[in-house]
Symmetry: C2
Subunit: 278 residues, 2 copies
C-alpha cells in the first residue's frame, strides 16, 4: 500500500504514525481541529479551527484552510519537523534557523492522518517566461526595432544585469528591459537605473537609449518613461514561443505616445461541449 491512513486516531496513535512516516520520508497530511502559532520574521496566532496540515519530507510545512491559494501559515523547506504528545494532545512543531522561525500546530482532535510516498517534480517545462520572450526577440531583433543588433543578454552593470543589451542602426547603445506582462512604475525605474549605469560606463551621457518591452504599460509608468526619455515597445505576451508586436508602434522618438493598452485576448475557449457524465 502506498498510502496509509488512520481515522480519528488517538493522539498517541497519530504520533506513532507520524514517526513512521518521517522515517519513510513520506508526505504527510493531518486534518483536525488545531491552533497555530508562528513566530519568526513576523508573528501570528490562529484560534482553534479545522485545518489541513501538510508536512513534506524536505522540511516544508503548510497549514491550509477553506480558502485561498496560499497557506494561512507555513514553514519553508529545510525546516525540521518535530512531533510530540503534550497534555495528551498531538503537537507538531516545525523549526528552522537563519532566520529563527518556529511553527507550532497543536491539535485538539485529529480526524485523519495520511502518509504517502510522493515523487518529486522531475520535468516541469514552463513556456511563456521572460526567458522565452528574450529568445524570441533574439531570433527576430527587428521586433524591437528595425536595425537593432543584440550584443548581450544579462549584461552585468553597476546597477544589475541588463536583460538585453545591443546597439541601434546608428550605433547607439540600447538597454532593453523585458517584462512578460503589463508593467507599472517599478519596471520603468529599473530600466532607468540600467540606462544610467551604462551612461556612467560609456561616459557619454544622453547617448544611451532605453527601451521597455512588454505587453502594455500603465499610465503612471508611461509618464515615468517619458520623464526619463525612455521608450516603450509593445509585444504580445509569448504564448507558444513566438512573439508579435501588438500594434505598429512608430517608435522613432524617445517616447511613445500611442495608447496600446487593450489586450486583445482572443479567448476562443468554446469547450462547452459535454464533459458531463455526472
Amino acid at each position: 500500500m502506498t498510502a496509509t491512513t488512520v481515522h480519528q486516531p488517538t493522539h498517541r496513535e497519530a504520533l506513532w504514525e507520524l514517526e513512521d512516516a518521517f522515517e519513510r520520508g513520506d508526505l504527510i497530511t493531518i486534518f483536525g481541529r488545531c491552533t497555530v502559532e508562528y513566530d519568526g520574521r513576523a508573528a501570528s496566532s490562529l484560534d482553534p479551527g479545522r485545518r489541513l496540515l501538510i508536512l513534506k519530507p524536505d522540511g516544508t510545512a503548510l497549514v491550509h484552510t477553506d480558502e485561498n491559494q496560499k497557506p494561512v501559515n507555513w514553514q519553508p523547506p529545510g525546516s525540521e519537523h518535530h512531533a510530540a504528545v503534550r497534555d495528551g494532545r498531538l503537537r507538531v512543531r516545525s523549526v528552522r534557523s537563519s532566520p529563527d522561525e518556529t511553527l507550532d500546530v497543536r491539535f485538539e482532535t485529529v480526524e485523519q492522518l495520511s502518509a504517502m510516498a510522493v515523487s518529486g517534480r522531475r520535468d516541469l517545462s514552463v513556456t511563456g517566461s521572460e526567458a522565452d520572450l528574450r529568445n524570441a526577440l533574439l531570433d527576430r531583433p527587428a521586433l524591437i526595432e528595425p536595425g537593432f543588433e543584440p550584443l548581450a543578454t544579462e549584461r552585468p552593470t553597476d546597477a544589475g544585469p541588463i536583460d538585453l543589451f545591443g546597439r541601434d542602426s546608428d550605433g547607439r547603445p540600447v538597454v532593453v528591459e523585458l517584462k512578460r506582462r503589463r508593467v507599472g512604475p517599478s519596471a520603468a525605474s529599473q530600466l532607468q537605473r540600467y540606462v544610467a549605469a551604462i551612461e556612467r560606463e560609456e561616459g557619454d551621457a544622453a547617448a544611451v537609449r532605453g527601451i521597455l518591452v512588454a505587453p502594455s504599460v500603465t499610465d503612471r509608468a508611461r509618464r515615468l518613461l517619458a520623464e526619463h526619455g525612455l521608450e516603450f515597445v509593445a509585444v504580445e505576451p509569448p504564448s507558444d514561443g513566438s512573439v508579435a508586436v501588438s500594434t505598429a508602434t512608430d517608435n522613432d522618438a524617445d517616447v511613445v505616445d500611442d495608447d496600446t493598452d487593450d489586450d486583445t485576448a482572443a479567448s476562443s475557449t468554446a469547450e462547452s461541449a459535454g464533459e458531463g457524465s455526472n
Copy 2:
C-alpha cells in the same frame, strides 16, 4: 464522520465521491499518479508522477509534489472544478476566465481520495508588518529624526501613496518610505519617485528630503540613495510592536555611511517547561 476517505477506488468511484464532496463544499485531497497540463498566463506540462491534488471549495486547485513550498501547478481561487471519467480514467479540470486559464489533471491511478469539512481562517493576526512599523514610528517620530513631525500616512501623490509624510524641524517636507526588511535598489527608486512627485507638487525642487527607513540596506541601494541625495535610517524590524534604532545613525547629512547590517535575532524561545493549562 467529518472526513470521508476512499482507498484505491475505481476512477468511477472516485468521481462519485468527488461530486458528493463538491456538493458538500468540502476540501478535497486526491493522491495518485497523474499528469498535469496547464495553459493560461503561461503554459506547462508535467510527466506522470505521484502527486497530491488539493481542491478547495473556493475554487483553488493545488498540485503538490515531494518538495518545495509552492505547488508545482495550481489554479487560483474563483476557478471552477470539473471532474469526469474519460477513457476510464479520472480527470479533474479547473478552469477560470479573465484570464483564461485551464489546469488539467489526469490520473492514471487514484490511490486515495479524501473529503473534509474545513473551516475558514477566521482570526489571523499578524504582527511585524510594515503597518506595525508605521504605527510604532507614529508613536515615536523621533526615532526617524529628532524634531520630525508626521503629517500623513499613505499620502497620495502623482507617483503613488507615500508611506509616511511629514516635516523636519526646519519645516522641510520629508518623504519617508518604510520597509520591514533589508532593502535593495527598488526601494531606493521607489523613494526617489515619491520625492520627485512632491518636488513637482511643491514646485520647489531640492527642498524635499527623502528618508528610507529599514533594518538595513544593500550596497547598491546605498549608492543609489547617495546619488539622489536620499537618506537612510536604520531601525530594527518590529518584533512585538516596538521598534528601536539599530545604531545611533548620525543622520544629518544626506547619506549615511555606517554599516548596520547584523541582525541581533535574540530568539529566546525557551518553552521546554511544562506549559499545562487547557
